[in-house]
């Protein structure tokens, strides 16, 4: 037999923040799957308390201003979880809140702090710059594609995926990727390591009590993330009967055996968009961005006090942002019944 080898042409110096191996994950899933048909309903306080721990590697569903599990983020902040490792392919508002609250230790970075068209919150950016300089936060650099593929690799049960970008980019040097020559084609390839997470939180349109979940609109990295976390918390707009799930099995994107908790939270993505249900609360986003521009940090503190620390749960939060009337307006916006 041949004793050839594959040359490793280059290696990044970035850290791997999740230490979970495929074999360790296999052992975990072996036991977890036995609970496929357990009624998993609980409240968000219990879910976060039970499944999110200091030092965990955390992945979150949704993308940019869409389908972020805000109730879970608020609760993580109120429960003062610390030293979280975060996967950050296109994180925006949810990530920023965790960062501002001091929950974050390390970041696998695809896109952080940015609020797309709204800009970058000044205070958050300054905080990140200071944390990088002081070494308080660790960052490994990737991009949205390589991050998406890292989650996908884990969901496939393999330790890495070969990809064709990241070459010639400086992010490579600050990543844990390796560049090789393909043993089949002779072309250069980058290998990115899989991310097995401790816990993942995804907000969905509807699911049953076991966690069989349906999602509308763009799926971002959620298929990969849902399968690659030891614990999966589903927050949902609505709980439906399993009989309804069985009517269109092609629409179940997350089967129940991956799920650990089902938490019903209507409007749980506010102020973000829930496709087909409610639109981005642009006024609220502007209020947040404005608060972030006060260099003293006072306005920002007030924002957090008002919307997170000053309330006990997401229902109270929803009252604070304008309650039923405001939410109905966001529904009208989503369905194009009124103009933005």
């Amino acid at each position: 037999m041949a004793r050839a080898s594959i040359e490793i042409l280059d290696e990044g110096a970035g850290q791997i923040f999740s230490k979970i191996t495929p074999n360790e994950f296999r052992e975990h899933m072996r036991e977890k799957v036995r609970n496929a048909w357990r009624d998993k309903r609980m409240d968000i306080k219990t879910a976060i308390k039970q499944f999110v721990h200091d030092g965990d590697y955390l992945t979150m569903g949704g993308v940019s201003f869409v389908r972020l599990s805000m109730a879970a983020v608020h609760e993580i902040i109120r429960q003062k979880k610390r030293n979280l490792n975060l996967a950050a392919g296109t994180r925006t508002y949810d990530f920023n809140l965790l960062l501002d609250a001091g929950c974050v230790k390390n970041i696998d970075c695809g896109y952080i702090t940015g609020m797309e068209v709204f800009g970058i919150p000044y205070i958050t950016r300054k905080r990140v710059e200071m944390m990088i300089t002081s070494g308080e936060v660790g960052i490994s650099e990737y991009d949205n594609a390589s991050m998406a593929w890292r989650h996908k690799a884990a969901a496939m049960g393999i330790p890495f995926l070969p990809i064709r970008n990241m070459m010639g980019a400086d992010a490579f040097k600050h990543s844990a990727a390796k560049k090789i020559r393909c043993p089949f084609t002779g072309e250069q390839l980058v290998l990115v390591p899989a991310i097995y997470a401790d816990v993942c939180i995804i907000h969905v349109h509807r699911c049953d009590i076991y966690g069989n979940s349906q999602i509308e609109g763009a799926l971002n990295e959620d298929l990969g993330k849902s399968k690659s976390a030891k614990k999966l918390i589903i927050t949902t707009e609505k709980i439906i009967d399993t009989e309804e799930i069985r009517l269109s099995p092609d629409r179940t994107l997350i089967p129940c055996f991956y799920v650990d908790a089902v938490v019903k939270i209507p409007y749980g993505a506010h102020p973000n968009n829930m496709p087909g249900m409610y639109y981005v609360d642009i006024d609220h986003m502007n209020e947040y961005m404005a608060a972030s521009r006060d260099p003293s940090g006072k306005a920002f503190e007030e924002y957090y006090e008002k919307y997170i620390f000053g309330v006990d749960n997401f229902d109270e939060y929803l009252e604070t942002i304008g309650g039923k009337k405001r939410l109905e307006h966001l529904e009208d916006l989503e369905h194009l019944r009124v103009r933005e």
Partner: protein, 260 residues
């Protein structure tokens, strides 16, 4: 038509739209790329395939989206999918164009969206790549849209977030990127630029209405190649403006941001 009849966003959208040929598969971000793509689709390129990073393929946008994943990007789409599938299309060679921006660009079209100053002690930390690195690495042609300022058009970017031609001809291929790809056009508020074939250096090929070569050179932080037969980019036609304003963005969600 008088200059005052259109704003800079309208102008840049028109200039970019003219470069999009029919049948193209295009990744579009929010803002001007969306205006340009939608305008092209309504003018001369009805058969394009507009695609959004988070999973929306060829939607019929009822209004312009706020982000690359919001419900407007999947409204009456021909398919919704996940992000790996979107990037795999680029990896598979399906994608003709991506529109990218950046905080810094250099003469080889390398883009920086990560950090100004030292990596470990940043003067400014920007959000990072997002989808840009993969799109710029894997799509056939990268279209770049930026404000033309000296501090943005720099000799060498502080950090290569998305490689252009890196440090010259053949460098992309030597680095291992798929052959035949790279930056194609740069659209700014002053000029239309490409990359000269032999040197892969950025080259001025057209001036926007009212702009001089000196204006452009002064706004560029590196030595710019200048094409002999420089185009005076024609201003937007009445038809282009009408479609932009009536069909593409009737509520001026994006267009209004170009009002100065």
């Amino acid at each position: 038509m008088e200059k005052k009849d259109y704003n800079i966003f309208e102008l840049m959208a028109v200039v970019a739209a003219r470069e999009i040929e029919d049948g193209a598969f295009i990744y579009i971000g929010t803002g001007i790329p969306m205006l340009a793509t939608s305008l092209a689709q309504n003018m001369h390129a009805p058969n394009i395939v507009p695609v959004f990073e988070a999973g929306g393929i060829a939607p019929q946008m009822p209004t312009l989206p706020l982000s690359v994943g919001c419900s407007r990007t999947t409204y009456r789409a021909i398919r919704t999918c996940d992000m790996p599938e979107i990037f795999e299309m680029a990896q598979l060679g399906v994608a003709h164009y991506a529109f990218l921006g950046g905080a810094q660009i250099d003469k080889y079209g390398n883009l920086n969206a990560t950090v100004k100053g030292k990596y470990n002690a940043p003067e400014v930390r920007w959000p990072g790549s997002g989808g840009a690195n993969a799109f710029g690495s894997l799509c056939w042609r990268t279209m770049i849209i930026m404000n033309h300022e000296k501090r943005r058009f720099v000799e060498k970017v502080d950090f290569i977030t998305t490689p252009g031609y890196i440090d010259g001809p053949g460098a992309r291929e030597r680095a291992g990127l798929p052959p035949g790809t790279g930056p194609y056009r740069v659209f700014t508020d002053k000029a239309l630029l490409d990359f000269e074939d032999k040197t892969k250096k950025m080259r001025l090929i057209g001036l926007l209405p009212g702009v001089t070569v000196e204006d452009v050179v002064e706004s560029t932080g590196f030595e710019l190649l200048i094409k002999d037969d420089l185009i005076n980019v024609p201003p937007p036609t009445e038809e282009e403006l009408r479609i932009l304003r009536e069909k593409v963005d009737p509520y001026r969600i994006v267009l209004s941001r170009g009002d100065q």
